[in-house]
């Protein structure tokens, strides 16, 4: 099957879609099904949504002669995760009306709505646009939401980098007018046939494309897990440029060694004003040379490995018309968020809340959605979604802190400082019941498993340790599992592949140690390793580093260059 040189069928779908129009308009008008035509479900990703269904009741509904309970996940494009209180209030209102009264903070610093039914899809997307946000290119074979470090300490630097991330997000947008026609009822532009995508072309990229900006020493964005990473370089406290890293990516498939996770390779450095050009031409090389015959071999990481890093740099520099500068050594120390109030270098305050698995939904004992709604009504700074599925209430005047604390207290929210480090560092993707790819539970299961792991750590006197556990319902890797110290990757209901040995800062891949473990097997495995770690660690030695050093695992191949 791999010997064929025929294009993946989706390439033809894209080409025939008239720049992403497909039959979306007709599909939205068909009230007899909650689904869209199959091709439109794929084109829909470029518009920012995935068709899903409630898998908990899929079998029940089949017996009831009802189609699956289809709904849509709608993802916002919001570079660097920054939004204003006014925007927050709009998103909150849409979530209450159309999204089951829940918002989901993602691992790429944005919001997802889940459970939006087809008849509400247009109103939801239109509402997001009315808040001066959008959903275009939040998914699909294009550049996705651009990440930017949410670290609040060095406020001026953070802002400078975020501004570049936001500018790049705009620069890499698709130019098709389809989005505005379909969702915002804008007029079909005259001579629509002549419409063009100067950067992407009619078939866009072979696969998704992810960009992140990191500010050392914090690697909260997991910069090396992206197709293209910019690592900020600082001279005299000012942004002087970036290391450029390419070819990171998490997605793989179980049992298919030709698919693999890869950390990005650093190929040089550029100046701040060169960022747009570098990104545009990295995209261009991938557009022209990425594998369009096999979607499982289409990310930039495979292009890079098939042709070599030197070839890629050469092709890139030829297109740029200048050579990249030599990369500068940088040090990352951690990825997790620092919870609680922190003061920025400008005297403003920032409060990072712990939102377990990024799920904002009110329950009997905690009401994060309501709390943040009230805060948005009084807050005059901004909100920042962190890459760890948390939210920072940013730029608070010292006098306003008490008001925010009072609101949080009324709604049963803590700032996360009382929660164990293993829990605040954990991440889970959404998985069941809505994600069509999930093979096992993730978001709904991880909190209970963490409770059991907390007990194991306590048993070995490791209670405060901050090891990062990441769970996903399938091997595609939305919670970036493959560079975590402990990764649990869903294989079947109740069963996970266990990977161990990532590092604290996201610069080393972990290794597969158990193909198919249920909860008892996971806990037994960790129990053994925790015992050894407690007994044999060097002072302060992190779990993953210990496992590798002690030879309990073979060191993972392919770290960042």
């Amino acid at each position: 099957m791999n010997d064929s040189v025929t294009l993946d069928p989706f390439e033809d779908t894209k080409r025939r879609s008239r720049f992403l129009r497909g039959t979306l308009v007709a599909g939205l008008a068909d009230h007899a099904t909650g689904a869209l035509a199959e091709d439109d479900t794929k084109l829909g990703k470029f518009h920012g949504f995935y068709q899903q269904d409630d898998r908990d009741i899929r079998a029940e509904r089949r017996r009831q002669k009802l189609e699956p309970a289809y709904s849509f996940m709608v993802r916002v494009r919001m570079a660097g995760g920054v939004c204003t209180p006014a925007q927050w209030l709009v998103l909150d209102d849409l979530a209450v009306r159309y999204g089951g009264a829940s918002l989901r903070l993602t691992t790429r610093q944005t919001f997802q709505f889940h459970g939006v039914v087809k008849r509400d899809l247009k109103a939801t997307i239109r509402g997001i646009n009315e808040a001066l946000l959008d959903t275009i290119a939040a998914c699909g074979d294009v550049n996705r939401n651009v990440m930017s470090s949410a670290n609040p300490h060095e406020s001026a630097l953070q802002r400078a980098v975020w501004e570049q991330a936001a500018a790049l997000s705009e620069h890499l947008l698709p130019r098709t007018h389809a989005y505005h026609e379909i969702w915002l009822d804008s007029e079909r532009i005259a001579g629509g046939e002549a419409e063009a995508e100067p950067l992407y072309g009619a078939t866009y990229l072979p696969r998704k494309f992810k960009v992140a900006f990191a500010i050392p020493p914090v690697n909260d964005v997991d910069v090396y897990a992206n197709d293209l990473g910019f690592v900020a370089l600082v001279e005299d406290g000012r942004l002087s440029g970036y290391n450029v890293a390419i070819g990171g990516g998490m997605g793989r498939s179980h049992g298919e060694p030709a698919t693999y996770a890869r950390l990005a390779s650093v190929i040089g450095a550029c100046r701040p004003e060169q960022v747009l050009a570098v990104a545009e031409h990295v995209v261009g090389v991938q557009r022209d040379f990425g594998d369009r015959t096999n979607r499982k071999h289409a990310r930039l990481k495979y292009t890079l490995d098939d042709r070599g890093v030197d070839w890629f740099r050469g092709e890139l520099e030829r297109r740029l018309g200048f050579a990249l500068a030599p990369a500068v050594p940088v040090t990352f120390t951690h990825r997790g968020d620092r919870h609680g109030w922190r003061e920025g270098d400008d005297g403003r305050w920032h409060l990072t809340l712990f939102i377990e698995n990024g799920r904002l939904r009110d329950s009997d004992d905690r009401a994060p959605l309501s709390a943040l709604r009230e805060i948005a009504r009084v807050h005059d700074g901004e909100f920042r979604c962190t890459p760890n599925q948390n939210v920072t209430i940013a730029n608070v005047a010292p006098a306003a802190r008490a008001v925010i604390d009072a609101i949080l207290g009324r709604h049963g929210l803590s700032d996360g400082t009382g929660v164990s480090a293993v829990r605040t560092n954990a991440m889970a993707c959404v998985a069941l019941p809505t994600c069509g790819l999930a093979m096992a539970e993730s978001e709904r299961y991880l909190p209970a498993l963490i409770t059991k792991i907390e007990a194991l750590l306590d048993k070995h006197g490791l209670g405060g340790e901050a090891l990062a556990i990441r769970m996903t319902g399938c091997p595609n890797g939305c919670a970036r599992p493959y560079n975590a110290e402990v990764a649990l990757v869903g294989k079947a209901p109740g069963y996970y592949a266990v990977h161990l040995g990532g590092d604290v800062a996201g610069e080393r891949l972990n290794v597969l140690v158990e193909e198919n473990a249920d909860e008892a097997a996971i806990l037994a495995l960790l129990d053994g390793h925790f015992a050894a770690w407690a007994a044999g660690r060097a002072a302060g030695e992190p779990f993953g580093d210990f496992l590798v050093r002690s030879g309990r695992l073979a060191a993972a191949a392919g770290g960042a260059a």
Partner: protein, 613 residues
Amino acid sequence: MQQSAALLSEPAALTPEQSSRVHAALAGLSAPQLQWVSGYAQGLAAGRTALAEDGAQAVTGPAAVVAPLAAAPREQAVLHILFGSQTGNGRALATGLEAEARAAGLAVKLQSLGELRTAELKRLRHAVFVVSTHGDGEPPDDALEFHEHVMGARAPRLPALKYAVLALGDSSYAQFCQTGRELDERLAALGATRLVARVECDVDYETPAAAWRAAVLDIARRELGSEVPAGNPPQLRALPVTPRYSRAHPGRAELVANQRITGRGSSKDVRHIELALGDGALRYEPGDALGVVVRNDPALVEEILALLALDGEQPVATPAGERALRDALVCDYEITTASRGFVEAWAALGDHAELGARLAPAERDTCARWLAGRQLADILHASPARVDAAGFLATLRGLKPRLYSIASSLAANPDEVHLTVGVVDFTVDGHRRQGVASSYLAERAGDTLEVYVETNPRFRLPVDDDVPIVMVGPGTGVAPFRAFLQERAARGARGRNWLVFGDRTFRDDFLYQLEWLRYRESGLLTRLDVAFSRDQANKVYVQDRLREAGAELYAWLEEGAHFYVCGDASRMAGDVDTTLGEVIATHGGLSAERAGEYVARLRRDGRYLRDVY
């Protein structure tokens, strides 16, 4: 000979020549043989004898006569390629095999297991299955229903089936290739014959799968060739005696399926009921209704006995003879519906000023609405009276069978009848009240029910299969249209079909949604319009959809379409009728009066047919 004498004495029925030929043919036949001929003729009349199915069962016993039939087309020797696929690998393999088999000149049919109707299984002769295993030994989603059916107790024997199984899986899972293994072994256990041994494939399936495909093709070429089987024998089919079951003499049917078809969020419980007509004696046409002999809920009987302080064991006289009061209340008397007649009789038994006031002639409508929201026992609670058993029974009506529009076609479901039953279940003053028939069917009926067919010749498909039809059936009113569409599909009718359905919510109340969508995809259903009243701020009903599609509706009528309405008589049928007139006036450019004449002509021509209740 009484039967034939009666038949032949009807002068208009036969010419003298025909009459003498029939006499000659019938001479010397025994009584059971004559009875059989009668049934055969009836079957012929119903136009049901043209096709004999493979594997039709022979009738045994005294009435077992085998009737020669006109040569029936035998199913072309087809290789069925069926796949259950989660990730698409199974589908891709099956599609590849299909191409190879076609290239080899074989007749092939490729289908997802999700598309294979369970009834079709026993008609398969040569079938190969490509089926993956998902998760921890689970079938892929599209094969779930098929798997449940074939593994279940109701799976048919399959002695005529030759098959092969390619199992796909991932050996890192404990239950490697479980679904393929189960299927392969189960088919053998059901009497089917393996064409080639099962092959199990791991993640790197290409090589073993290719070998299996080659083996299957090789044997399929030999088995199926491209020739029609030699010496196609005359098709014989036994026609059973057809006693005429009636309300007085109901037949027996077996309850084989009782499935809720509203979603978990629905405010309503609607059941899809399937009954098996074991002896083939019940015959019906799409449009007919099924009478179901019902029993009252014993718990309700006990509640009433306690309320009235009556001994359930005391013998009482009933039209069916003497029996215990308890049994009489279960089997013979209407004790759920609170009719005006009952209230009048009950009011007369005691000093019930309140009841009397409700019965005032001026309050007739108010009283009817009040009664619609309660049952007989609620009246007993609210207005107690002392009465003996005979006195109580004297206030009651006899328990009548309940009628349901039949939701199936015999052509599509031989020996089955399907019903769509809305379960009536509500609470009055803290007492749970259920509809007698719906709760009987949904919860209390045993395996066997007593039923009969209530023919409804005024609600029939057009005789001409090319005539388009428009069907308006909100709620359980959609039932007969399921029968219509099944029948038209089975007949290969080419007339266009337009269904308008409505209910409360799209998500949970779209009765038979999957079937309509499948019909639309196959082209049988030309147009499908839906109205869900509670999914938006303003209520939308079927008549609103008809109005929106007025131009097209008028065009269909002008092209000769029949217009059918089934369901609620109290409001829907009238609203649809009004809308029909408006649509004709608007799009036909007619005055209200002329439009009224147009509608009247539709009625007269038998093109505007209603089954409303």
